[in-house]
């Protein structure tokens, strides 16, 4: 357990310092590098929470595609070295952000999570056992004490089952959104009259 805690705190420091850097560093190129550092740290958080697939997707999409797009954009527009200047709203923005942070932290701390539905089920119910193994894997599931039937049930299930089962409508909507975004991006990038 101490090992996971240590990793968590290292990742937390990296993620928070990185995101402070993203908004404060003047050089936009460095800001985008710091942004990819934050993405990787968030991927590490996902691994800590047993969401291995999500961590890999995070690195693949955010670092491999989105950060690269940002660097492209930074390079193709001018004024990179001193580009990241604040505007007039700096003080009110800081005020609002701090206020929101205080509110959210207060909410998190004062909420009694153990009374919520499903909390504190770890090591008790089957649900928690499956959560503990993240993306279902036969060996680990049997190790967690499930019978063979349930194992195949969960194993063939997982994210894929949810995505094209229960959440098939949002899934299709998102694919439509991606198509629209691709067409829109093309239209915007081509510009008028060309």
């Amino acid at each position: 357990m101490w090992f996971e805690d240590a990793v968590f705190w290292i990742l937390a420091v990296v993620a928070i310092a990185g995101s402070v850097g993203v908004v404060l560093v003047r050089d936009l190129f460095r800001a985008s590098l710091l942004l990819s550092l934050v993405f990787i740290a968030v991927g590490g958080f996902f691994i800590l929470m047993n969401a291995e697939f999500l961590a890999v997707v995070q690195v693949l999409i955010y670092v491999g595609a989105i950060a690269v797009l940002f660097i492209f954009a930074v390079m193709l527009t001018r004024d990179v070295q001193r580009g990241n200047t604040p505007n007039r709203l700096q003080v009110p923005a800081a005020f609002i952000a701090t206020l929101l942070l205080v509110m959210m932290v207060a909410t998190v701390v004062t909420t009694d999570w153990t009374t919520l539905a499903g909390a504190g089920l770890e090591n008790k119910s089957r649900v928690a056992q499956i959560q503990a193994v993240g993306i279902p894997d036969a060996a680990r599931l049997t190790a967690a004490g499930l019978t063979a039937d349930e194992v195949t049930d969960v194993q063939t299930g997982g994210l894929a089952d949810l995505l094209i089962g229960e959440f098939v409508l949002p899934f299709e909507a998102v694919s439509l959104l991606l198509l629209a975004a691709a067409i829109g991006g093309l239209a915007l990038a081509r510009g008028r009259g060309r």
């Binding site: 190129f29 460095r30 693949l60 670092v63 660097i71 390079m75 993306i135 060996a139 190790a143």
Partner: protein, 414 residues
């Protein structure tokens, strides 16, 4: 008597190699120390295997290239010149380590480290014998693709931080190629995952009763072509085309940093060959003796490297627009055809439990080889026409455009 037993339910529990070292060391050391020692041992194996392998690949590639071109290749130092990498490394280490004026010093320094690190992390999940991978991830395939996409950022940073036009050109080209070829490569790997029914590299090897380069020749073709583009190897090496833009993104690198970048390139060839061996040539599975798995794996990896060198020495370099055309108009349709064909075959051939038998795999192989031959012939003909047309018209029109804009600019300044 045995003090330390690794909990099989922990995240490292499925890792045979780690457990073996951990429990062996645990006989004489306290448990937490055995934990650290085992981790360090795994890292030691990984780093040495990949970097030593990269050195051997660099020598082997130069020798092979020499044979292909009717030359001798490096043959002076050691038997058959096998100690040449050591000589190269010594030379590079004694060179001055220059950071160019006006460069972004931190970003410039971080690039070689980033490239080697992403390579090493990717190499960790490849199983090199039965049940022995340094890390056994259940999303192994995606993991390798994800960490190899870190290279994109490293190359971009190299080009930007060097404060050199040619480096920036090279980086821009490299990133364009990497981003485009990611798509067909991932689509072809998807076919493999579909048939194997798992994203873990170990399971994919087990699923290959028939090697997948027979079951999915199209995916194999697309994967090899796409990967040689992602590695910036010769038919696709516009990113470091030395006759056009000096050396591309690593123009300004020298000394140890250059050595690391070179190690990352040759190590990349090694890791990708290992990946090809695992995904398409049935990895450690061999004709006899499972305990000889490492040998079969090495032989298959060598086949992969030989394939790359062969391609490199055979084809001339493509232009950037031709590379893009090959990606989007040739490899992309092929990978989609492969994916659709494989999906349909799996859908109709699988039994009630979703399992494919060896006979099913042979049927798929028969159908897919025909599909591959036909579609490569058809799309090859199409792309050949297209490229021929574009090479007749495009450069001329582009010349006119650039000439006009030059005139406009000069008038504007006057």
């Amino acid at each position: 008597m045995n003090a330390c037993v690794l909990n099989p339910h922990s995240i490292l529990g499925g890792n045979h190699l780690f457990r073996f070292i951990y429990e062996g060391v645990g006989q004489m050391l306290p448990c937490w120390m055995a934990y650290v020692v085992a981790g360090a041992a795994i890292m030691l194996i990984l780093i040495n295997a990949v970097l030593l392998g990269a050195a051997i690949v660099s020598w082997g590639e130069r020798r092979l290239l020499g044979r292909f071109q009717n030359r001798v290749g490096p043959n002076r130092w050691g038997p058959f010149g096998a100690l040449q990498p050591i000589a190269d490394l010594t030379k590079l280490l004694t060179k001055e380590d220059i950071v160019p004026y006006g460069a972004d010093r931190i970003a410039f320094t971080i690039v070689p480290v980033l490239m080697v690190a992403s390579l090493l992390v990717g190499a960790a999940v490849i199983p090199f014998a039965k049940d022995v991978a340094l890390v056994d991830l259940n999303v192994g395939v995606l993991f390798i693709l994800a960490v190899s996409s870190l290279t994109t950022i490293a190359i971009f940073t190299a080009g930007w931080a060097s404060n050199n036009r040619y480096a920036l050109f090279g980086a821009g080209r490299a990133v364009a190629v990497l981003l485009s070829y990611e798509v067909p490569v991932v689509l072809s790997v998807l076919g493999v995952v579909l048939v194997a029914g798992s994203m873990s590299l170990g399971d994919i090897v087990v699923a290959q009763a028939v090697p997948f380069f027979l079951v999915q020749p199209l995916a194999f073709f697309v994967f090899v072509a796409g990967m040689s583009a992602e590695l910036n190897r010769t038919p696709f090496d516009v990113a470091e085309a030395e006759s056009e833009i000096i050396a591309g993104y690593h123009t300004e690198y020298s000394g140890i940093k250059f050595a690391l970048i070179q190690a990352a390139e040759f190590g990349g060839a090694l890791v990708v060959s290992g990946l090809i061996a695992t995904l398409f040539l049935a990895g450690w599975a061999g004709p006899v003796a499972d305990w000889l798995g490492w040998l079969w794996f090495l032989i298959k990896t060598f086949i992969g490297i030989f394939l790359f060198v062969w391609i490199r020495s055979t084809y001339p370099r493509l232009r950037l627009d031709q590379i893009m055309a090959v990606c989007w108009k040739f490899l992309m349709p092929l990978s989609i055809i492969n994916l659709i064909a494989v999906t349909l075959e799996v859908f109709f051939l699988r039994d009630a439990h979703g399992v494919l038998t060896t006979a099913d795999l042979w049927i798929m192989a028969g159908i897919n080889i025909v599909i591959a031959a036909v579609s490569i012939a058809v799309f090859g003909q199409l792309i050949r026409q297209q490229v021929r047309n574009s090479s007749q018209t495009a450069p001329a029109s582009r010349l006119v455009v650039s000439g006009v804009s030059t005139i406009e600019v000069s008038q504007g300044q006057g």
